[in-house]
C-alpha cells in the first residue's frame, strides 16, 4: 500500500527552540526543509522555560564577556563539558539574542532601553536576557512565526517511530499522523534530531508529556553515540502536593527573592549543607539537601521541605512572584504570602544526549545531526540556569547550517523498501499484534523502577536492582499493544513506542550511573560521595551493540589548548576562595 511520502534536503524532528532554530537556519542556507512535531506547533517544552537566556551582552554589567561566561559554564558543569561547545556557546549567545530581537522578540529593558539582564545561580554577572517569567514562550513564539514565514513545510501532530538508513547513512524516517493514524515517510539528505529530553521516565518531573526521549532512542538505534546520560538535573523545588501537580516547577526566583527553606522541625537546614550560599547554593546541592532532610524523617506532611516567603511584604511577593502566587492559590489552596509552600526535587533536565561535533551538530552516523537537549556535551555534569535557552539557539543554528551543507553535497536519497516495511510492521504490531502488555501499566512500572533505583541519590545496590528490573522489561516491550485498535488519535498506540524509547533511555542512565563511581553535579552516589580524579577527566560514551546491549566507554573530556589558561585560572580562583 502506498503511503504519504515527502522528500527534503533537511528534515528536523522536534519543534521546540532548537528544532525551530535549526529549521530556520537550514532554510536560510537554501535547503528544502521540513519540520516534524509530535504536538501542535508552539506547544513544545521550551514554552515552560521561565528565567531567561544567558548571553554576555554586558548591558547591565559591562564587565561581562564571553570568557567569564565560558568559565562559569565549565565550573557549573564540573569541568566535564565539551570545551569547544562551552566556548562556542559563550561566544555566540549574544548574537543569537540580538537576532531574536530583530525577529520581533520582546524582552525587558534597561533604563537606557537596551535588553535587560538578570542575575542567576552560577553566573558571575547579571547575564540572563528575559521577559518576566515567560522567556521560553517568547522565544518559541518568535521562532514559530519566523519558521512559518520561512520556506519550511511543517508537519504537526506527527509521531516518528524509526529512522531509516541506507547502508551506513540515515536517509529519512517513518511515522504516522496522530489525528488520522495514517502512515507517513520522509526521505532526507540530512536529518536533525531536536526532540528534547526524557523527563517522563520519572513520575515526579517538571517535563511535558512529550519528553519521552524519542530522539535519544531513535539515534541510539541508528548507531549514534550518546554521552553523559547519567547526569540528570533534579530541580530542588517542585510542588509535592496535591498529588496531581507533584513535580510542577517552583521557580528559583522564589529563593532569589528571599525564600527560606525549613524542615518539619522548623530548622533552616541549608546551614548544615552550604552555610555560605544557603538557599542560593547550586541546584544539585539544594536538591540533595531537601532529599536528605526528608529521607532522615524531617520532611513535611507531604514529603518535602517548607519554602517560606511569608516573612516578606505580601504586596512585594504578589508583584515579584505573580505566577507562583497564582499557582499555589489555584492548585494547592495555599496563600504563599501567609503560609509556607511544600517543595521537593523534580526531574528537570538531561545534561547528556547524542554526541555531536561541536561545530556542526553531526553525529558519528552519516546524515544524522542532533541539537538542543537532545544533544550532549555543552553542559557537562550540571547545567547552569539560562544556558539551555542559549544552547538551543547557538547549536540549533549550527546544526541547521551543518545539515544543509551536508545535504548540498548529495544527490537524491531513497528509502530502502525493506527498511520501510520493517518500520510499518512495528507500528502495526502495536495496534493489531498479539501482544498483551498494556503501555500505561508498563510506563508506570518503569517510572517506579527509575524513581526507586536511579533517582537523585544512587548506590551500587539500587542501580544493580534497577538495571535488572529494566532488563526484565526488555522482553515485555516486544509484547506492547494498544488497548484499542482505533487509528484516530489513539493515546495507547502513541505510548507503546514512547515506552520503548523510555526503556532504552533508562537503561543508558542506570548503566552509566553504575559505572561512574563518584559524585559529581547531577550524579550523586551514596557509596562514592567524593570526586574521583579519574572520572574528572572522563565522559561516559554509550552506543548499541545490538538491541538493548550497550557498550559504555570512558572517554577523555574534549579539551582545547587555547582555553587551558581560562580553565586553570578558574580552578585556581575557586581553590583560593
Amino acid at each position: 500500500m502506498a503511503i504519504e511520502h515527502h522528500d527534503f534536503d533537511v528534515l528536523v524532528l522536534g519543534s521546540g527552540g532548537s528544532g525551530l532554530r535549526a529549521a530556520v537556519a537550514a532554510a536560510e542556507a537554501g535547503a528544502k526543509t521540513g519540520l516534524v512535531c509530535k504536538s501542535l506547533l508552539g506547544k513544545a517544552h521550551t514554552v515552560m522555560a521561565e528565567g531567561g537566556l544567558a548571553a554576555s551582552l554586558g548591558n547591565v554589567d559591562p564587565r561581562d564577556n564571553w570568557e567569564t561566561h565560558f568559565q562559569d559554564t565549565m565550573f557549573g558543569g564540573k569541568y566535564l563539558n565539551n570545551w569547544r561547545m562551552a566556548e562556542l556557546h559563550a561566544k555566540e549567545a549574544p548574537d543569537r539574542a540580538r537576532e531574536l530581537e530583530h525577529w520581533g522578540a520582546v524582552f525587558d529593558r534597561t533604563p537606557d532601553r537596551k535588553m535587560s539582564q538578570r542575575a542567576f545561580g552560577g553566573h558571575t554577572y547579571k547575564r540572563l536576557v528575559h521577559i518576566g517569567d515567560r522567556t521560553g514562550l517568547e522565544m518559541i513564539r518568535t521562532m514559530q512565526d519566523k519558521a512559518v514565514h520561512s520556506d519550511i513545510d511543517i508537519f504537526m501532530e506527527t509521531t516518528i517511530t524509526r529512522l531509516i538508513k541506507d547502508g551506513d547513512r540515515v536517509v529519512g524516517c517513518f511515522g504516522y499522523r496522530r489525528a488520522s493514524g495514517e502512515q507517513i515517510s520522509f526521505s532526507s539528505k540530512a536529518l536533525v534530531v531536536a526532540t528534547g529530553g526524557s523527563g517522563r521516565i520519572y513520575k515526579i518531573t517538571s517535563n511535558s508529556q512529550d519528553c519521552t526521549g524519542d530522539g535519544y532512542a531513535l539515534a541510539y538505534e541508528a548507531g549514534a553515540e550518546l554521552v553523559d546520560m547519567e547526569f540528570i538535573q533534579f530541580h530542588p523545588t517542585g510542588m509535592v502536593y496535591p498529588p496531581g501537580v507533584a513535580g510542577l516547577l517552583v521557580t528559583e526566583a522564589v529563593r532569589g527573592e528571599g525564600g527560606i527553606l525549613r524542615n518539619a522541625l522548623g530548622e533552616r537546614f541549608m546551614e548544615k549543607y552550604d552555610p555560605k550560599r544557603m538557599e542560593l547554593s547550586t541546584r544539585d546541592v539544594v536538591a540533595r539537601s531537601i532529599y536528605t532532610e526528608v529521607k532522615e524523617g524531617r520532611g513535611t506532611p507531604h514529603g518535602g521541605a517548607y519554602l517560606d516567603v511569608s516573612h516578606l511584604d505580601s504586596d512585594y511577593v504578589r508583584r515579584k512572584l505573580p505566577s507562583m502566587y497564582d499557582q499555589f492559590l489555584e492548585l494547592a489552596g495555599v496563600d504563599i504570602t501567609k503560609e509556607p509552600m511544600q517543595v521537593g526535587p523534580t526531574c528537570h533536565y538531561f545534561m547528556g544526549g547524542i554526541k555531536v561535533d561541536p561545530d556542526t551538530g553531526e553525529t558519528r552516523v552519516p546524515g544524522l545531526y542532533a541539537t538542543g537537549e537532545a544533544s550532549g556535551g555543552m553542559n557537562g555534569a550540571n547545567r547552569l540556569g539560562g544556558n539551555s535557552l542559549g544552547d538551543l539557539l547557538v547549536f540549533g543554528r549550527r546544526a541547521g547550517i551543518g545539515a544543509a551543507a551536508d545535504a548540498n553535497k548529495l544527490s537524491a536519497v531513497a528509502l530502502p523498501a525493506e527498511e520501510l516495511t520493517a518500520a510499518q510492521g512495528e507500528v502495526d504490531t502495536y495496534l493489531n499484534g498479539s501482544g498483551t502488555e498494556n503501555p500505561f501499566q508498563m510506563h508506570k512500572d518503569l517510572q517506579k523502577i527509575m524513581g526507586d533505583g536511579a533517582g537523585i541519590f544512587r548506590d551500587k545496590e539500587g542501580l544493580t536492582e534497577a538495571i535488572s528490573l529494566l532488563e526484565s522489561l526488555e522482553s515485555r516491550v516486544d509484547k506492547l499493544k494498544s488497548p484499542s485498535p482505533r487509528l484516530e488519535y489513539n493515546p495507547g498506540w502513541q505510548l507503546c513506542r514512547e515506552v520503548k524509547n523510555m526503556l532504552t533511555v533508562s537503561l543508558m542512565i542506570a548503566r552509566g550511573a553504575l559505572m561512574r563511581e563518584e559524585s559529581r553535579g547531577g550524579h550523586s552516589r551514596l557509596d562514592f560521595t567524593a570526586y574521583s580524579d579519574y572520572w574528572a577527566e572522563n565522559n561516559i560514551v554509550v552506543h548499541s551493540k545490538g538491541g538493548y546491549d550497550m557498550q559504555l566507554t570512558p572517554t577523555p573530556v574534549f579539551k582545547r589548548d587555547e582555553l587551558s589558561e581560562l580553565v586553570e585560572a578558574r580552578k585556581e580562583s575557586e581553590k583560593a576562595s
Partner: protein, 263 residues
C-alpha cells in the same frame, strides 16, 4: 493545610465521546484525590477505564494551552480547573471546543488558526532604524508583553460568537489574532502599515465588543479593551480622519510602509 484540600471522594464525569459524524456524553465515575484537576481525572479515566479516550495535552502547567475544553459548558484549561471548585452535587461535563471540527472525543481540529497566523506579516524592522542595539522603552515592552503572554489555547476563538455561532471564519480572524496584530502594530520599531489588513481581511469591524473572549482568557489578557478597541480606533484614525480626508491623503504613520501586494 487549607480546608480546600479536604475534598476528594467519588465524582462522576460526563465526557463527550465521538467523532465528526456522531457522539454523546458518557458517564465515568472515579475516586478522586484531593486537589485533582479535571485533566488529572480525564487521564485517570483514560488509564483505568477508557484507554482510547482522545485528549490533547502537553505541559499540565497552564503554559502550553493544549488542553482547552468546555467544562460544565465553559471553556477552561483542564489542567487549571480543580474538581473541588466545581459544584459537588452534580456531574462534571467535559466537552470539546465547539467552534472547531471534532477529530476525536475531546480533540478538535484547530489548524484553521495556524492558517490565519500565516497571513499575518511577522515583525519587520523599520527601514530608518539606526545601526546598533534596538532601543525600546519598558513601557512599550509592557504593553506588547500583555499580548505576547498568549498561550494559543484558542478558547477566545471558541467563545467568539462571530466564529462559534455565525461561522464567519472567512471574514474574521478572531480575538487571538487581533491580539497578535495588536502586538505587532504597537511595536515601536515595526515598519509595516497593518491598517488595511486589520480593517479589511482581518475584519475587525465585525467585533461588537461583547468581551466574551476577555472573560475566558486564562492569561488575563484584556483582549477587548487593550487590543481590539485600540485597533478599531487606529482604523478610524487612519481612514476617517476628517482633516486628512480634505486633502485626500492616507494617514500612514511615520516609518511604516504599506505591505507589498504579494505579501
Amino acid at each position: 493545610m487549607s480546608e480546600t484540600m479536604a475534598a476528594g471522594g467519588t465524582r462522576t464525569l460526563q465526557i463527550w465521546r465521538g467523532d465528526l459524524t456522531s457522539g454523546q456524553l458518557v458517564d465515568y465515575t472515579l475516586e478522586t484525590e484531593p486537589g485533582m484537576v479535571v485533566l488529572d481525572a480525564v487521564l485517570e479515566i483514560q488509564r483505568s477505564q477508557a484507554p482510547d479516550l482522545a485528549v490533547r495535552w502537553n505541559c499540565k502547567a497552564a503554559k502550553c494551552g493544549s488542553c482547552s475544553a468546555e467544562v460544565n459548558g465553559k471553556p477552561r484549561l483542564m489542567c487549571k480547573t480543580r474538581l473541588d471548585h466545581l459544584p459537588a452535587d452534580e456531574p462534571i461535563t467535559v466537552e470539546p471546543m465547539r467552534a472547531f471540527p471534532i477529530i476525536q472525543d475531546l480533540v478538535t481540529d484547530v489548524s484553521w488558526n495556524y492558517e490565519v497566523n500565516k497571513k499575518i506579516i511577522p515583525f519587520t524592522p523599520r527601514e530608518d532604524l539606526p545601526e546598533g542595539d534596538y532601543l525600546i522603552d519598558q513601557a512599550d515592552t509592557d504593553r506588547m508583553s500583555e499580548f505576547r503572554k498568549c498561550i494559543e489555547c484558542f478558547m477566545c476563538q471558541d467563545v467568539c460568537h462571530i466564529l462559534r455561532d455565525q461561522r464567519m471564519h472567512n471574514k474574521y480572524y478572531g480575538p487571538r489574532f487581533m491580539v497578535r496584530l495588536a502586538s505587532l502594530d504597537m511595536h515601536p520599531l515595526d515598519g509595516i502599515d497593518r491598517i488595511d489588513q486589520i480593517a479589511d481581511e482581518a475584519g475587525i469591524g465585525l467585533c461588537n465588543i461583547t468581551k466574551c473572549c476577555t472573560e475566558v482568557c486564562p492569561e488575563g489578557i484584556h483582549i477587548t479593551d487593550n487590543a481590539i478597541i485600540p485597533l478599531k480606533e487606529r482604523v478610524v484614525d487612519a481612514r476617517h480622519d476628517p482633516i486628512l480626508k480634505i486633502f485626500k491623503r492616507n494617514n500612514t504613520r511615520p516609518g511604516k510602509k504599506k505591505p507589498e501586494a504579494s505579501a
